[in-house]
């Protein structure tokens, strides 16, 4: 057993060695002049993403974005305080699995001289990776929105809005349809549906939002017609479905079929990625959602989006865009730390304060981490599917398109 394990490790190391050795000459070839001028050692940055398993679609996009971001940093001259040192991205596939995430995070930290890690985006995986990183005193930046990441942690930094901010944003967005929004909440009768909908109901009065219908339904609808018949009778002008995709598709279609004029806000989730539109097509048009990042929030984001789109054929989505920003935050910290030492990088991240450039290209346009590792300026944005693209429509300061009436 032990022999097999060692053999695997040996094979892996060999493959990594090969990649490292082959990456050298390639880098030299493309950045020959810079390399000759500053022969600084590259700085290793770890990227933990699931590129296989159930989270693979988003994970692969994050890896693509991470590679693009490292290229951008290096093309701009690398880390100048370290003699123009290049960033060297080391990606590890955490296979959408918590056990693999634990061992891979361990392996990455102990196997390479890393300066920082970003990754895992999915909350279940990030919580594990963050535990391991904390113990190893390795700074970790993540796009995961879990609020748990902001308690009892010193090395974990979350540059984007937290899960607890999402429900509030969703409620505030209902004001887009009028001053007195009447909201119908329909939710699947599962743990996910019940907890999310309860959160919405509890915060609604504080936001001046009237909930006129609050109804659980059996997940796995055969027909959404009867349910929508009920929504229609409630007189609501905004619908919050807390649903997984197949039910959501049926709900949207039933609304169109009954000629009901109502805005639909699905909250945050898997439908703000390009694949969603590719799969469900025109059904998605006009659908509202909440995201922690969008590619149109400012000029820098739009610039990266253009490059990404050209290379990968789809727009730079929420998590992938976040990874680009995180890479630039790490670069900024390395620049100020003037050292690849993870402890110094952590301290530099803790005092990070940027309001321009790619590191700051999120909603709010500024990054500064509070004592809990939370970006104090972060807030979610309201987005809407418009002509196959995701447009920011809320809040007013971030809006890049006006609401498309459905």
């Amino acid at each position: 057993m032990a022999t097999t394990g060692n053999a695997t490790l040996a094979r892996r190391l060999t493959r990594r060695d090969f990649l490292k050795k082959s990456a050298g000459p390639i880098a030299t070839a493309s950045f020959g002049i810079t390399r000759k001028a500053f022969a600084a050692d590259p700085v290793n940055v770890g990227g933990l993403y699931p590129v296989t398993g159930s989270f693979a679609q988003i994970g692969q996009g994050c890896v693509n974005a991470a590679k693009l971001a490292v290229e951008m940093v290096n093309a701009a001259g690398g880390i100048k305080s370290l003699g123009g040192a290049k960033l060297n991205l080391i990606v590890s596939d955490v296979q959408s699995d918590t056990t693999v995430t634990r061992t891979e995070t361990d392996r990455l930290i102990s196997g390479y001289k890393l300066s920082a890690i970003h990754g895992a985006f999915a909350s279940a995986l990030t919580l594990i990776a963050s535990e391991v990183a904390e113990r190893a005193k390795m700074p970790l930046l993540t796009g995961s929105s879990s609020d748990q990441l902001n308690s009892n942690r010193r090395y974990t930094f979350t540059p984007f809005s937290r899960a607890s901010q999402f429900a509030l944003a969703q409620l505030q967005m209902s004001k887009l349809v009028g001053d007195t929004p009447k909201v119908a909440v329909i939710f699947e009768n599962t743990a996910f549906g019940t907890s999310t909908s309860t959160g919405l109901r509890e915060q609604a009065p504080g936001e001046g939002v009237e909930i006129v219908m609050f109804e659980p339904y059996s997940a796995g609808l055969t027909d959404a017609g009867p349910l929508i018949n009920k929504v229609k009778a409630s007189g609501a002008n905004m619908l919050f479905p807390v649903s997984y995709l197949n039910d959501l598709i049926l709900i949207i279609r039933a609304i169109r079929q009954t000629g009901l004029k109502i805005a639909i806000n699905g909250g945050s989730g898997g439908f703000v990625i390009p694949d969603f539109y590719k799969n469900v097509g025109g059904v998605a048009e006009g659908l509202l959602g909440v995201a922690h990042w969008n590619h149109d929030v400012n000029a820098d984001a739009q610039k990266v989006n253009e490059v990404y789109k050209k290379r990968f054929g789809e727009f730079l989505f929420e998590y992938a865009g976040g990874v680009v920003a995180q890479t630039f935050m790490i670069a900024d910290a390395l620049e100020r730390a003037a050292s690849p030492d993870p402890q110094k990088v952590r301290d530099a991240l803790a005092t990070l304060d940027v309001s321009s450039g790619y590191a700051a290209m999120g909603p709010g346009g500024k990054v500064k981490f509070g004592p809990t590792g939370k970006n104090v300026y972060a807030h979610p944005v309201g987005v809407q599917w418009q002509h196959g693209d995701l447009a920011t429509v809320f809040p007013k300061d971030d809006a890049r398109a006006s609401l498309m009436k459905s």
Binding site: S54, E215, D223, P226, N229, N246, R253, V280, G282, V283
Partner: protein, 289 residues
Amino acid sequence: MLTTIAQAVVNGLLIGGIYALVSIGVTLIFGVVKIVNFAQGEFVMIAMYISYFLAANYGIDPLVSLAVSMPVLFVVGLLLQHFLIRRVLALGDMPQIFLTFALSLLLVNVALLLFTANYRTVQTPYSDTALQLGVLYVPTAKLIAFMVAMALSALLWVFLHATDLGKAMRAAAQNRDVAMLMGINPDRVFGVAVGVALALAGAAGSLLMPFYPAYPLVGQVFVLMAFVAVVLGTLGNVIGALIASLMMGVAESLGIQFVGADSGLIVVFVMLLLTLALRPNGLFGGWSR
């Protein structure tokens, strides 16, 4: 109020038509071949993917690809009977249950492998439209599906009652041994029965595609309702399954409207339990097949 009830009844009838296509297939196979086909829903799923890919790659409307999915599944039915079901007919209940159940698992997992778990939809000009009859909305795609389903059911009834092959099928359903003594070839009759049942599943799949997303587990959503309809409508009774399906659609819809959106199925299952308690042979036991 009256409008709401009427709309609920319309919604129920429309989805009931789809339940009918699936349940008639199940009841036909059970009536003639005496085997419960747990994989019936998966054949609906296969037909949905046939229609999806024809629409996505060649722009063929799902209603047109009905002409592809039905014959393809008819042939699949013939092969299924010839290579699999025929071998277990003499073996008793367990191997038969395992066969169709395993087939269901196999098809779901092959679909997951080939098509991934993503939801795929087809957008047709009539997907999101509705006919307005006074105050009632009748979704076009569902109305078409309902009418085709009723037409196919009527065709099946004519086939069973007016053709020699259909009569042979009913004879085999009533008493297999006597039917064989009368010179009816059971293999041929069984093959056609399974073929027709799968062709109906194929029709259901293609008819669903304009308004329902395709994904590997989609068959299980419909097969549960189909089994309830088959039992309610008396096992093996085609007309019974049809009427029971429509009743269930309406009961579910009214249940969602007036009991609660998570209680639609409760109404259906209360109906099933009452039927089993009061008329154990189903609502249409003793009626002609």
